[in-house]
Amino acid sequence: MTTRRSFLAGAGLLAAAGTVNRTALAALPEPVIQTSAATAAPLTPPNGRPYDPVVTLNGWTAPWRMRNGVKEFHLVAEPVEREIAPGMVARLWGYNGQSPGPTIEVVEGDRVRIFVTNHLPEHTTIHWHGQRLPNGMDGVGGLNQPQIPPGKTFVYEFIARRPGTFMYHPHADEMVQMAMGMMGFWVTHPREAHPHIARVDRDFCFLLNAYDIEPGSYVPKINTMLDFNLWTWNSRAFPGIDTLNVRKGDRVRVRIGNLTMTNHPIHIHGHEFEVTGTDGGPTRPESRWPEVTTDVAVGQMRQIEFIADEEGDWAMHCHKSHHTMNAMGHDVPTMIGVDHRGLVEDIQKLVPDYMLMGERGMADMGEMEMPLPDNTLPMMTGQGPFGAVEMGGMFTVLKVRRDQKPGDYRDPGWFKHPKGTVAYEWAGAGLPEPARSDAAGSSSMPRTGGRQSVEMTVRKPTGHQGH
């Protein structure tokens, strides 16, 4: 839901944003505030040069106003509450009511004027990551400009010179401000047909970001370096990330920017794609090769494209398996195969609500619904048509349907598999025992002792105990 903080009073005059300097206000476009974390419909440009709009996953595109041929946006840096997924809200810093801020969409050659009002408790700036622009507009506080003090509005103005995928984020106290969620997406559409930029039917974009929020608390720990516990796309974690709903045969583009502190191998099932653009612009067709996973390094952007020609519900996720988990203990001991007989009752005497978990692995976690600390998400969760999906973090689904209408981004529901196309349980005769290798260590350093029977000491998993 997009709301307007206030209405225009007179010609271009508005009474927005409490502490904004009055003289600056006279010329300011009204900031538009987003209160919902749902994926907004693409914003068809009402004026200016036409383009095919993108869809920001669980996000939206900032409206603008044209003023003497200049596209004017107004970003308000402010504390926000962002729903990370149903059941968990984070107190972040963001822009115009959300984190990340609205996607800014312009067309190559547009003159862009961006008003940035600082409603944070400390100064800030915005760096326009990847843009060609005058040095004084690059937004590095202290180097290119004075920081924007709290309560002040600064203006950035430049021409969007090259088409491509960009990001914006603070370059003032950025360790804190990015850990708090200050970031946004920027797409510059080509002005006219470009040999290396295809027209696509669906164009999705999202930012990779990560938070460290103690389960039961609300504000990210800003001093965390690498040990984050919430891996998010546009500040959303599975099962809070919307699905990518496309029509069979669509040419689909996904733009991904990485503002976390580690790389993310983004993997799509069922299709091969090509990387058609990087931070530096569109890749030349002859440099492209097919992939199913592309690594998006820290501070990088990747633009991938594919033809969605296989119907179904296809997983799409970061391939670091801990990044498809929500908050979890990193020091939890592995309990696999540990016999708990006789101990469960003892523990329950001391802690009546204790339940045995982990004896057979961690899938219990995705199956059991147990009370958790306030304001946190299960480590693994989500129910699919066949049961627990056992995922969290950077995971969603690419839904390809033949009957999805062009321009319709609504969720079509679960895929209905044609008969005989789902894996099934073998019901035939018993299978022979496979032959086992006895040759371990035979190459460079052959084993000298007898064969060690490792299996003999391992207790085979048994049925439920104490569940």
Binding site: P215, G329, P333, T334, M335, I347, D353, M357, M362
Partner: protein, 470 residues
Amino acid sequence: MRASLPISLLAATVLTGCASVAIDENFAEVERFARDEAGSEVRWLRSDAEREAMRAEVDRLLAQPLAIDDAVRIALGYSPAFQSLLAEAAVVSADATGSARIGNPVFTFERLFRSGAEGRELDIGRSLGISLFDLLFLPARLEQAEFRQQQTRLQSSIALLSTVTEVRQAWVDAVAARQVARYREEVATAAGTAAELARRMQATGNFSRLQRAREQALAAEETANLIRARQNATAAREALIQRLGLTPSQAQALRLPDQLPALPEAPMDEATTGAALLENRLDVRIARTDLDRTAKSLGLTRVTSVVNGLHVAGVRNSETGESTQRGFEIELPLPLFDFGDAVRAGSEARYLSAFNRTLELANNASSQVRVAYEGYRSAYDLARHYRNEVVPLRQNITEESVLQYNGMLIGVFELLAAARSQSASVVQAIEAERDFWRAEAALKASLLGQPIVPLTLQSGASPAEAGGGH
């Protein structure tokens, strides 16, 4: 003179009273003190029948968990130690009665024999004499004796108070030690479960020897704590049994309540305890009595220092051939060498000393009550703090840890550590409550006049912190 002597003797006998009357009076006074001030009754078992009846009553009391008031009742009505104290008081009382009696009359018989030229002469002299001094000062001596009886009564009350306080504290210790041992068992179980789990985890290769050893070391320490706690519980129980004077079979029958009484809603306030102070303190009363007595005896000394003996006797002398001589004799020491000044100076010094001791005692008594109240009040605050803050917080931590465990944010070892800390905090809470009830008994004793070593609060060892993290 002759006629008045027997009357005086009779009067003296009546006034000094018979010893058993004084003993009974003193016991009645102790009984009254026990009832009004210590809230219990005293029995003085003077026959086998009484002993048997009381023994049966004690057996009845021991049929259920022994309440603190019943423990006091047994101590005051049954324990040989206190019975012995009562008997000793009776001895002192009898001595005091004896001290007030005037010296027995002295009968002298003289038979003198002379053989001379005039033949044999028999000279028989008889006199019946009494110390006139004793008679003259009989009222003063009776007063002195009454002071001594009063002292005895007060001393008996102090002994009673001391017994009551000790029994109350011993009961509190025994109940608390038992309760602590039970929670130590919980702590040890939590640590033991973790150690067993660690052992199994090492067996399946999930834990290293180091990880297992850490859990086992914790469990071993908790086992040591449990052994200590159990020993304390046994020792505290036996200390109570000794104060109650139970026979071996009664000792075996003794059961204790599972927990200490609940803390009172509000503590006694300092104004009440302060106001009640000097009137009630037995030791102050003893000092005052002593001072009065010293003052009286000072007056007495002024008179008797110069002339310290006056003896009068009726004399009857018979001599052969002579008519009988009748008369009296007075014996009076002459103050030629001893003018009594040393005695007077000594007596005055004793009075001064007693006077200042009384002052000191009064000041100290006031200070002791303040200390006792402070100890009582701190113990109350601490016990309430443990009950209302520490234990609920630890419980809350355990509950939150369960949620964290559910989310696989922490492992079972941290959960067990939280449970261990929770039980350990309960142990601390019990110890704080025990300190409170001890301090309460000490304060009550202090208000009535028995200096008790003031309470010092033990520093609570903080239970092992359950680590968080994920």
